[in-house]
């Protein structure tokens, strides 16, 4: 897609600043006045539409979450980190070749990076997933290679873990140690 096809961010530069930009010619006055008048009419109409829809209810603020945040695994600005994506649930859950009627599988994509100069060892078991009733479920790696350590500069992006749990349950947090011998972490989902 060409950038010219994308919408332009509304608002614009403050009017007072426009003439003060060196090297950038100001637009002709008549064109600006015409466009300003038309824009005013559009904004007034749009405002009425948007106000009407907004008055129907204020959406509550989203709950705090660690999804998408770089979670530092040790101290320091160049510490190894972990990024967790939103888990996806509702996949079939299989046991001994049979689909379980009352259970689901949740999948979680995890990224790791180690920008620092020293290798770090990972825990033998990835943290448990705790559901909305407080029950912990163990992780099974479904993609990516077994990961025991992160070398200096290494970055791992194709790790997916799955968790089996009863249908209707919702993942709430990850809980457990990520680094070998490291402290337990609590990741809000």
């Amino acid at each position: 897609m060409d950038v010219r096809d994308m919408p332009t961010l509304p608002g614009g530069r403050p009017q007072a600043a426009r003439g003060a930009v060196p090297g950038r010619p100001a637009p002709p006055v008549r064109r600006v006045l015409l466009r300003t008048a038309a824009l005013g009419a559009v904004l007034a109409a749009t405002s009425a539409v948007l106000t009407a829809s907004a008055a129907q209810g204020q959406a509550p603020p989203p709950p705090p979450t660690d999804i998408g945040r770089r979670l530092m695994l040790t101290a320091g600005f160049d510490a190894p980190w972990m990024l967790v994506q939103t888990p996806g649930c509702g996949y079939p859950n299989w046991a001994r070749g049979v689909r379980h009627p009352n259970r689901q599988t949740c999948r979680l994509v995890v990224l790791f990076g180690n920008p620092g100069p020293d290798p770090v060892r990972l825990a033998g078991r990835f943290p448990d997933l705790v559901d909305d009733r407080g029950t912990a479920h163990y992780a099974v790696r479904v993609s990516g290679v077994p990961l025991r350590a992160l070398r200096p500069g290494e970055r791992v992006v194709r790790l997916t873990f799955s968790y089996g749990m009863p249908k209707g349950r919702r993942p709430v947090r990850l809980q457990g140690a990520v680094l070998a011998g490291g402290p337990g972490v609590r990741v809000t989902l």
Partner: protein, 456 residues
């Protein structure tokens, strides 16, 4: 979507507005985007960590009016260091250099196309800008790591000047010195690479220092005509994990560990012997001097800034006409002060993403005048992870941990409201999901995770 319920009059007015001419006189040249923002961890459909690259183009009135679009390279774009912009081919439009240190390029059997997959060799892409073009797949040059299997993270850092591209591979090994690092210098004629790249390490003739294990030479780069021969650039290289251990080759961990160092090589493309300077920062354990670099050239003196975020210090050098750097100022801060740097408009922008609860950015006049401190606004945002100067003195600040997607703020230094941009906000597109198929689970669809982690 909103327009579906609007009255006919509104639709007509909107149509009239869209159809109205938007060019000022004289018409501007449409070149590469002014600013590029990367999400190195973004996910396209079922491809986690492929990364996304966004072009932000200011319209005729300048910032904050901006158009945003996803930009693609020939192979996946996963930039993790600063991006480089320069008019490399001399056509009057800036070109983009994007490193992907965790992607390997390979030739497909019996096919001219270049394939790519996860790996530790790395690659670099030059996205060529030109009049009327938006950089993309059609106009891309791929520079694979010169030697496969070195696992040096080629593309960790990039820098560019006219006819020249420098690429850092800080985890490349030398015999007996793992992760000592290297820099590759590519010369180009127009859009063609002229010859095999020149490999520069701390053991190269004329380069001060010694290549030792863990130095990470090439972690950061800058390429600019700071002095010496006119039109011939200087190359500046950061090695933040260099130990301050005196002359000669030492074992890793000797002396002051990870004090860091910066190397300046004058007139780097000339045929004669290399003239180099070693710049030492605060000699403190873990200072990591050379973690970030910035250069500024113009009508006045040329400047070089280098940071030591481990001790929250930034040094400013003025480069003499013969290319020698002389220290002029040192600033101190908190919160990994100097994690990111950008020089422009007579100021140095210094990012400190761990400053306060949200991170801070400080704009420092190069004449030593009073600083302007810009605090982040959301706890844990890591505001200041990346900084770049935009048009007309606006500052672009990356906050890759803001919300679930990350965000960038357009900050008017003259005062005024910040403009936040984030994927999915209606102006910046989200990474694409597949165009067909069933309803996606959240972990399958296109996801932005780290928007603002890298900019240029």
């Amino acid at each position: 979507m909103r327009a579906a319920g609007t009255p006919a009059l509104l639709t007509a007015l909107l149509t009239a507005l869209v159809a109205a001419p938007v060019h000022v006189n004289p018409p501007i040249r449409r070149c590469a985007p002014e600013i590029v923002v990367a999400d190195p961890s973004g996910q396209e459909y079922r491809s986690p960590g492929v990364g996304s690259l966004y072009a932000l183009k200011f319209d005729e009135y300048g910032p904050p009016r901006v158009r945003a679009a996803l930009t693609r390279g020939q192979v996946p774009v996963t930039p993790e260091g600063p991006l480089a912009r320069a008019d490399i081919d001399g056509d009057g439009c800036e070109d983009l250099v994007v490193g992907s240190p965790h992607v390997d390029a390979f030739r497909q059997p019996d096919a001219p196309a270049i394939g790519a997959g996860p790996g530790d060799d790395g690659l670099v892409q030059i996205l060529w800008g030109g009049p009327g073009d938006s950089p993309g797949v059609r106009d891309t040059t791929v520079l694979p790591a010169p030697e496969a299997g070195r696992r040096g993270h080629f593309g960790w850092s990039v820098a560019a000047a006219k006819g020249l591209v420098a690429v850092g591979a800080p985890h490349e090994d030398a015999p007996g010195a793992a992760d000592s690092g290297a820099v590759y210098l590519f010369r180009l004629s127009g859009r063609e690479v002229r010859d095999a790249p020149r490999r520069i390490t701390q053991d190269s003739p004329g380069v001060p220092g010694n290549g030792e294990a863990g130095d990470a030479f090439g972690w950061s780069l800058a390429l600019a005509d700071l002095g010496g021969l006119t039109g011939v650039p200087e190359l500046v290289v950061g090695a933040p994990y260099e130990d301050d251990d005196g002359a000669g080759r030492q074992q890793d961990g000797q002396g002051v560990p990870h004090a860091g160092a910066v190397t300046l090589l004058a007139d780097v493309t000339t045929a004669g012997p290399t003239r180099g300077w070693r710049l030492s920062g605060p000699s403190a354990p873990g200072a990591r001097y050379g973690y970030a670099l910035a250069t500024g050239e113009g009508d006045g003196p040329a400047y070089l800034a280098a940071s030591a975020p481990g001790v929250d210090a930034v040094n400013l050098y003025e480069v003499t006409p013969d290319g020698e750097p002389r220290p002029v100022l040192q600033w101190r801060g908190t919160g990994a002060f100097g994690f990111s740097l950008a020089l422009g408009y007579g100021r140095l922008a210094v990012g400190a993403p761990y400053g306060g609860t949200a991170g801070t950015v400080t704009a420092l006049p190069l004449d030593g005048g009073p600083a302007t401190t810009l605090p982040g606004s959301g706890a844990g945002d890591r505001f200041g992870w990346a900084v770049a100067w935009a048009d007309d003195g606006w500052l672009l600040v990356g906050a890759p941990d803001r919300g679930t997607t990350g965000a960038v703020a357009l900050v008017p230094l003259g005062g005024g409201e910040r403009i936040w941009l984030a994927p999915g906000d209606g102006f910046v597109p989200s990474p694409p999901s597949a165009g067909i198929g069933p309803r996606f689970k959240p972990n399958e669809q296109g996801v932005a995770l780290d928007f603002g982690a890298s900019m240029g």
